[in-house]
């Protein structure tokens, strides 16, 4: 009975706080700078001072898939940071301000409240990523030549669970902490660790980690392998990241159920 008004309210909030515009714009800005920079790089170098006279720098023009794949890898860290900033206060902030207590004295279960937040931010993240990637890929095609859009979209969808993991872990931290800064800090530390450390812990952990999934997504976008090969490479990462998403989703729910509002 109360799920629909909760979800509707969350989407209304996205619109009234302009997050529905800000997040896609930031995603576009973070990704689209890569093809522009790559295109302008020879001119930037040519106009830069400090190089000895007569210096000749030969930079081979990268292919469109190469440019797009670097856009994803460059986006990764800043995109994570932006998502954490957007999500960190959604539960913790409401607990701190007292709004959560106004909501929970009504016939709204904590599960529905949590689910509404998760659905909203998952939708925002997926939508923003698809828009950002679509526009960046289009622009890359204009500047660097043809792209295989099947590879682009499959690579994007392969990368999206990583972004959802950022949302899930931030929601989890937001359920645990009573202030947004604490939630954001905890989520940031966790995501830095989970995205960077597994590569040093052996091949298996690297493959099933978010970092492994990013590499598989990049491989898919680079078009160096067939769709099937790239999909098989990404499968362990997909399984690992989905498992982490599920674990942290339920952990956040548990924290919220147990917390005193």
């Amino acid at each position: 009975m109360t799920s629909y008004p909760m979800i509707r309210k969350e989407f209304q909030e996205l619109m009234k706080t302009y997050k529905i515009l800000i997040v896609p714009i930031v995603f576009i800005a973070l990704m689209i700078t890569q093809p522009i920079t790559m295109k302008m790089l020879p001119e930037i170098l040519a106009n830069s001072t400090g190089l000895p006279k007569g210096t000749v720098i030969n930079i081979p023009t990268p292919s469109a898939p190469e440019v797009l794949s670097t856009a994803i890898s460059k986006f990764s860290s800043l995109g994570t940071f932006v998502l954490i900033l957007v999500v960190m206060g959604t539960i913790a902030g409401e607990k701190a301000s007292g709004v959560a207590s106004m909501v929970f004295v009504k016939p709204v279960s904590r599960a529905k409240y949590y689910l509404a937040k998760a659905i909203t931010y998952y939708t925002l993240t997926i939508g923003s990523m698809l828009i950002g990637m679509g526009i960046t890929a289009y622009y890359t095609e204009l500047l660097f030549g043809k792209l295989d859009w099947t590879h682009v979209w499959l690579g994007t969808w392969m990368y999206i669970p990583n972004l959802l993991l950022v949302v899930t872990t931030t929601l989890c931290a937001s359920s645990f902490f009573n202030n947004a800064v604490g939630a954001g800090g905890a989520s940031l530390v966790f995501n830095i660790v989970v995205f960077t450390v597994p590569q040093f812990l052996g091949k298996f952990l690297d493959m099933v980690s978010p970092g492994g999934l990013t590499n598989a997504a990049i491989m898919m976008i680079q078009e160096n392998s067939t769709l099937a090969e790239a999909a098989i490479t990404g499968l362990p990462g997909l399984v690992g990241v989905f498992a982490l998403n599920i674990v942290f989703f339920f952990m956040g729910w548990y924290f919220l159920e147990r917390s005193e509002i």
Binding site: P5, S97, S101, M102, V105, P107, E260, I261
Partner: protein
């Protein structure tokens, strides 16, 4: 109908016990004044009654439902306004009311009618289309009460409902509670004893997490009928300590500012002799009257043991 039933309610936090074996029952409609000093356990009790916190031990039933195992049924029958109500600041009062109405499963027409009626009743209909973020504390308090009533609850829980209001606002809200208590049970905590004395039918006094008293206001007054002689001298510098201490028919006396309160063990003797004694002490009476214990006197007497 038994509205609230608390049985051996205990709430422990890591480092302290907020409630210790709290038991009380509230039957029928009317206004319940929940009194206690800061940190007495009022808000903790209210948080448990509204399902926001779980008791460590004990049983609590609200409108016949267990607050732990039947939380959703409890929340459907209870309206709650905290001391400092918080809202989504980007919403207008109308949007908030309509959203809350939907959470209670009310149909669109009922929500619209109740929204109009309650915003008018609580005196914020003129600001209904402005974002709540721009409201004053008093306006938020009024909206907090309005939204707590949208589903016509059987129990309305108000935590310090007039604390953020100016004198006019306080007067309006007390009038509103007087109207509401004819149709539902209003459970309100406050520090302002004059307000409670004016509108409450039942009093609960809590101190250090323990209920010291739970009684109807009538019974309370009847059990604390104690004649007091109140007087004030024009000459505030005259010290009556020796005079009053030397009178065998005076059991106890207090002085606040220039006003004396004398508790007589023999009222007739006191009435006959006290005015003469006061005049003999060299003072003239600014006022002199016979009164009974106020709720504040009873509260202080109960709390101070």
């Amino acid at each position: 109908m038994r509205v609230i039933e608390c049985e051996s309610l205990t709430k422990e936090y890591k480092d302290h016990k907020a409630l210790k074996d709290v038991s009380f029952t509230i039957d029928g409609i009317g206004c319940v004044g929940f009194l206690g000093g800061n940190g007495a356990g009022k808000t903790t009790t209210i948080r448990i009654l509204t399902g926001l916190a779980a008791p460590t031990a004990g049983k609590v039933k609200v409108v016949g439902y267990d607050v732990v195992t039947e939380r959703n049924k409890v929340t459907s029958e209870v309206g709650y306004c905290p001391q400092i109500p918080a809202f989504y600041n980007y919403m207008t009062a109308t949007e908030w009311m309509q959203w809350v109405g939907k959470l209670y499963g009310l149909d669109k027409r009922t929500v619209e009618e109740r929204t109009d009626e309650l915003l008018e009743l609580c005196g914020i209909s003129e600001a209904r289309n402005r974002p709540i973020g721009g409201y004053s504390g008093g306006m938020k308090q009024r909206l907090g009460i309005a939204q707590a009533l949208i589903h016509n609850p059987k129990l309305l829980v108000l935590d310090e409902p007039v604390s953020a209001l100016d004198p006019m606002g306080r007067h309006d809200v007390l009038l509103l509670i007087e109207k509401l208590k004819r149709h539902m049970t209003v459970f309100m905590s406050t520090h302002i004893l004059d307000d409670i004395e004016r509108i409450a039918d039942h009093i609960i006094i809590i101190k250090d997490g323990t209920v010291l008293l739970s009684s109807s206001l009538e019974e309370l007054r009847a059990s604390h009928v104690e004649p007091i002689i109140e007087f004030k001298l024009d000459q505030e510098d005259i010290d009556l300590t020796d005079v009053l201490d030397g009178l065998a028919w005076i059991r106890e006396w207090t002085r606040e500012g220039g006003t004396y309160k004398v508790f007589a063990s023999d009222l007739q003797t006191a009435k006959a002799n006290l005015p003469h004694i006061l005049l003999e002490s060299g003072g003239s009476l600014a006022y002199y009257r016979l009164s009974t214990l106020s709720l504040q006197d009873i509260f202080l007497k109960v709390v101070n043991g």
